[in-house]
């Protein structure tokens, strides 16, 4: 669990006026949650997540990981910070720019080795992390720089997973990837939550991606939290999103338009399965194009999203 109280962060650089990036943030992220942090550029999202594992030091306020306050004075502070960084893995924006080793294997092994683990344990963790990140074993001895952008990004994520964190925090994990790279990453985040029980926190601008991944949305503007609640409720609130330079995902915009015309649909049902169900429920009021009656879908995909 991550708890943040009264968090203020001021950036100071010689020759520039101080800039208050976070202006009193309070929030709790519980174990097993899937949370998206959204907001315009400069709203403080990236600064906030760097506090989740003690990479930044608060100007004021406190940060706790699993009940331990990271920055409280005391001789054991370095140990507390090290433990927080093990528990909360942070994947930066464009993390593939930080790959450096000659092989994929060496890159992923770097952090566990640094952590002082034996070679057998390191090997075990690298293999596991590669499998989790969806990297085929035959890539282990390739240069990371010979891979596609999407694969390089998964190597960087595997490097964080090899520390076996319980919480994974990702800053704009799909930025710059092509649609298939994005879809694969969304799928990976779902799997980490479902199969590994990990807490997933992502910073994102992409409302369609957030609609697919997150249960909860924290909306930020000017260094403060302006809304925090269920993803469906926040992503269907056009006015609130507009104040943060965002707009609802396509599913919510369609449902909002139908609701505006008096159809009894719930715009908070933003998942594609949910939106489909909402439309089917009002089919008899949608005119001749909609199928009426209870005709079952032909060749419906088994379980959710995607192609046939």
């Amino acid at each position: 669990m991550i708890r943040v109280e009264g968090l203020v962060h001021v950036y100071r650089a010689p020759g520039f006026p101080p800039r208050e990036a976070l202006r009193g943030v309070d929030l709790v992220i519980g174990d097993g949650e899937r949370v998206a942090i959204m907001g315009p550029t400069g709203s403080g999202k990236s600064t906030l997540v760097q506090h989740f594992n003690g990479l930044l030091r608060p100007t004021r306020g406190r940060v706790e990981v699993d009940g331990v306050e990271l920055w409280a004075p005391g001789r054991d502070r370095d140990e507390r910070l090290a433990e927080a960084r093990r528990r909360v893995g942070l994947v930066f924006q464009f993390p593939e720019q930080q790959l450096f080793a000659e092989t994929v294997w060496e890159d992923i092994a770097f952090a566990p080795r640094n952590f002082g683990l034996g070679e057998a344990e390191v090997a075990d963790r690298v293999e596991r992390a590669m499998a989790l990140a969806g990297l085929p074993p035959e890539l282990a001895h390739r240069s990371p720089f010979s891979l596609s952008g999407g694969q390089m990004r998964r190597v960087a994520i595997a490097g964080v997973l090899a520390m076996q964190p319980r919480t994974l925090v990702l800053d704009e994990p799909t930025a710059g990837l092509d649609p298939q790279g994005r879809a694969a990453l969304v799928d990976l985040l779902g799997r980490l939550h479902r199969e590994e029980g990990m807490t997933v926190v992502l910073v994102s601008h992409d409302v369609d991606e957030v609609a697919a991944v997150a249960q909860r949305v924290i909306l930020m503007r000017d260094g403060q939290v302006v809304a925090d609640g269920p993803a469906g409720a926040i992503l269907a609130d056009t006015g609130l999103l507009a104040s943060c330079r965002l707009r609802p995902p396509a599913t919510a915009r369609l449902l909002l338009e139908l609701a505006r015309r008096g159809l009894p649909v719930d715009p908070r049902r933003i998942g594609i399965d949910e939106a489909e169900a909402e439309l089917v429920a009002v089919a008899d009021r949608l005119g001749p194009v909609a199928a009426h009656g209870q005709r079952p879908p032909e060749a419906a995909p088994a379980g959710g999203e995607g192609g046939p």
Partner: protein, 294 residues
């Protein structure tokens, strides 16, 4: 609206590291014409050859085989090179790599200064270009103070100050937030609409490519389809095989069709979906290539 070809590619192929073991054929025999005043989108997965194609269009890259002509002149002709780069301006993906000067105004003036134009003419062009992208009032700011979308608009102004005939945007919105993306696309769409600017938009966001009059789909260095955006983007299975993903409304429409809904083809945006249900969109807007009878 669209006239004779401005850019012509004939059997253009590009091989990186030719003759070596790691030789890669990035483009294979591309035949393509970009007509004057046209808004063309080029889509494809990463590695399909989109960026290589972009670099052929203004001679940053010369084809290994075949030929590229801009306004009738071959990009392989060293004497035509500067004129071709002036006619065809490019905006790249990363806004931070394109701006060089300490202020917005100086950055936009950089190109016209290199043309050796008189001072007054430079000042006039800089002002017109910055007014066009809506950043004249930010002219004295250092570029690093701007948002990503504003930086891309400054890059765009720098190109406009060269008075080009064609804009090529090579994933120019990929690193921007949604508001920044909309800013850049609106500006480009307006230049096309109001000044008949030829636009080549290279993107993997199909929602962006929908604005184009024609789309070319690349797969492993070849053109595998060409047509109106809504004709092509309504085929989720086919798009997925190409490494692309249909937009949410296309996927939702496909699911409902499987349930027996009689939805017309070509649903990509929320407005398309509402129109298909017989409901006018939020602004009564009917998508343009739908309003035209074939």
């Amino acid at each position: 609206m669209t006239g004779e070809p401005l850019i012509v590619l004939r059997q253009a192929s590009v091989v990186y590291h030719p003759g070596q073991p790691d030789a890669v054929e990035a483009l294979r025999g591309i035949d393509l014409e970009v007509r004057r005043g046209e808004f063309l989108a080029v889509v494809g997965a990463n590695g399909s050859g989109k960026s290589t194609l972009a670099r052929l269009l203004n001679g940053l890259l010369v084809p290994t085989r075949g030929e590229v002509r801009v306004a009738g002149r071959s990009t392989a002709d060293p004497q035509a090179r500067w004129e071709i780069r002036r006619l065809v301006g490019m905006v790249f993906q990363n806004p931070d790599n394109q701006l060089v000067a300490p202020t917005v105004e100086e950055d936009v003036a950089f190109g016209p200064e290199n043309l050796g134009l008189p001072r007054q003419e430079i000042a006039r062009r800089v002002r017109t270009a910055l007014e066009t992208v809506g950043l004249w009032e930010r002219r004295a700011d250092p570029p690093h103070r701007l948002s990503g979308g504003q930086k891309q608009r400054v890059a765009l102004a720098g190109i406009l100050a060269m008075q080009p005939q064609c804009l090529v945007l090579d994933e120019a919105t990929a690193m921007l937030d949604p508001a920044g993306r909309a800013e850049v696309l609106e500006t480009v769409a307006r230049l096309h609409r109001e000044r008949a600017m030829t636009v080549v938009l290279i993107t993997h966001f199909l929602e962006e490519a929908v604005r184009a009059e024609r789309v070319v789909v690349l797969e492993r260095g070849r053109i595998v389809a060409s047509g109106r955006p809504r004709e092509l983007f309504d085929r989720p299975d086919w798009l997925e095989r190409l490494g692309l993903v249909a937009p949410p409304m296309g996927r939702l429409a496909e699911r409902l069709r499987r349930r027996g809904w009689n939805l017309p083809p070509g649903i990509v945006t929320v407005e398309d979906f509402l129109a298909a249900l017989g409901l006018p969109g939020p602004t009564g807007h009917v998508p343009r290539d739908r309003a035209v009878t074939p």
